[in-house]
Assembly symmetry: C2
Homo-oligomer: 317 residues x 2
């Protein structure tokens, strides 16, 4: 099958990969579209030391499954696959199973391929009113929703740093959950996605110097983002970290202690809630797609996604 | 008056300092005893760049005050002094007033002197059944209590790293609040203070390799403590940081994000609750005093407090 393959930091298009064979309880899914995410770019730069097919934002059609009603269904899928027997899995926290695989990130080939496999239990039927292009955003939107599972945001003054896809989705999610949201980024055209919403969207040099917020989300994807976010967090406030980077980063722990900041690591969220957010019809997605590339042009798609200010780049099959 | 004076990292005994003059709403307090804390040692090593009289753990007698009933009272005192008019002060959070002074730490001479001044509102009458030696522990005990204000610990598996005074007090406080507590330190004689309590007190090489806990408190006072504590925190667990150090420290933020750890900076606590804990009669303090030195031997007291495994060193007047 056709796929993009990552090995030792080198990304290439290949047409000679075998179609994966689903294990017990797993489905074979034909990929329709897959989104390129900042994490994919970081992985291409060495983060996670991954060899195989990257890609974890996708929409597809189930081709094989033992679960009734699943074959033929258009689906999205949770990307973490637990062992099913450890304490975390038993507690519904397969995201933190120590033996988990993660689609296109850890121990499991991903979505930049004609076919992928996932456990049946990870899959979610898509309603007909959600298009393929919107469905690609389900994974980052669920990750944005994860913030409001971890922190009660209602009424808080919130600052989202970073106008990447996750930042734009986090700002909209926080706003829906009744925080007073400012998003700060480097790209006017990306911030313009939020025109007409209640989110206050500003460029870095428009942010009021020294102003601090109850809640700050680092969605910059940059190594220095955490330190900037900390400097913008009020004493006793909450700093949510969404960024993982190939580079090691420092955080001034004396400031964390003296200002009694709560630093909350935040990763994947539940797809059911991401879907619920989409069905509210208040999240602006269509303006967020930059370009679509066929799988054969995968490496070019990565280049396009890595350009400053690029919107979501989608790979299609 | 007699005092210990810190300037440019040099600590000296002086007998020529003037008695401080209380400002409006402030009391003049004659110090009876003062405890040497890890923070004092860090300050002597350059932390906070403080010049003046250090010392913030004390018990004393009020000599001057305009507040009825305060003159002659034996007191302890909250060490943070807010401006009284900012949003933090109005909200009862003078600990985080941006213009605050902190007794013996920031902008205000401290307790290693015959006299100090504090706002009347910071002072707490000591009940007769609490001795001077116990009262010296009020500040660190209140700081230990701060943890259970920030985190609901009941039923949690908790690990306290560090068998310094704060570690020993934190372990006992968490145990009283119904956590299942292990404390891990480097000094058998310090850990022995907890003999006969329900706290599991172990040396570093007795800690089960790889075992992780719901809640981990870094009270090591060492730069590498935070990273060790993070490695002992379960995914989705809570890491409480109590340590401030002169050295900059690193924390692996990728692990914080991937394991969705909550890192909680924790500083001073309310004296009223520290006092309540003491009155419960379940905190072991008497075994925690190493030695008492007269103020004239202040620098020697600092040396004694800095020795590995030293218990609380007290300076008396």
């Amino acid at each position: 099958m056709k796929a993009i393959y990552l090995s030792k930091g080198k990304l290439e298009y290949r047409s000679d990969l075998p179609v994966p064979v689903p294990g017990e309880g797993e489905a074979l899914i034909r990929v329709l579209k897959a989104g390129v995410c900042r994490t994919d770019l970081e992985m291409a730069a060495g983060y996670m030391d991954f060899t195989g097919v990257p890609g974890h934002e996708f929409v597809g059609v189930v081709e094989k499954s033992a679960t009734p009603g699943l074959v033929g269904a258009r689906v999205v899928g949770d990307i973490n696959c637990g062992c099913g027997i450890c304490a975390f899995c038993k507690n519904g926290e397969q995201n933190h199973c120590p033996d988990r695989t993660v689609l296109g990130i850890k121990g499991r080939d991903g979505a930049f391929a004609e076919y992928l496999t996932l456990p049946d239990g990870n899959l979610h039927h898509l309603p007909d009113n959600l298009g393929d292009a919107e469905a690609v955003f389900m994974e980052p939107l669920s990750a944005a929703y994860r913030i409001v599972e971890q922190v009660v945001v209602r009424g808080m003054g919130a600052l989202v740093l970073g106008d990447g896809n996750l930042g734009l989705l986090a700002a909209q999610t926080l706003e829906i959950m009744k925080a007073n949201v400012t998003i700060c980024g480097r790209h006017r055209r990306r911030l313009d996605v939020l025109d007409g919403t209640r989110v206050n969207a500003v460029l870095e040099d428009e942010l009021i110097p020294g102003k601090q917020y109850d809640l700050v989300v680092d969605a910059t994807g940059r190594p220095e983002g955490a330190a900037t976010a900390l400097s913008r967090t009020k004493p006793r406030g909450t700093l949510v970290l969404k960024t993982t980077t190939a580079l090691k980063r420092e955080l001034d722990l004396n400031t964390v202690v003296i200002n009694e900041i709560s630093v909350v690591g935040s990763r994947c969220g539940p797809f059911v809630h991401g879907m619920a957010l989409l069905e509210l019809g208040q999240i602006r997605l269509s303006a967020m797609v930059e370009a679509e590339f066929p799988i054969e042009e995968g490496p070019t798609a990565f280049e396009a996604a890595g350009k400053p200010g690029a919107m979501k780049v989608v790979i299609s099959f």
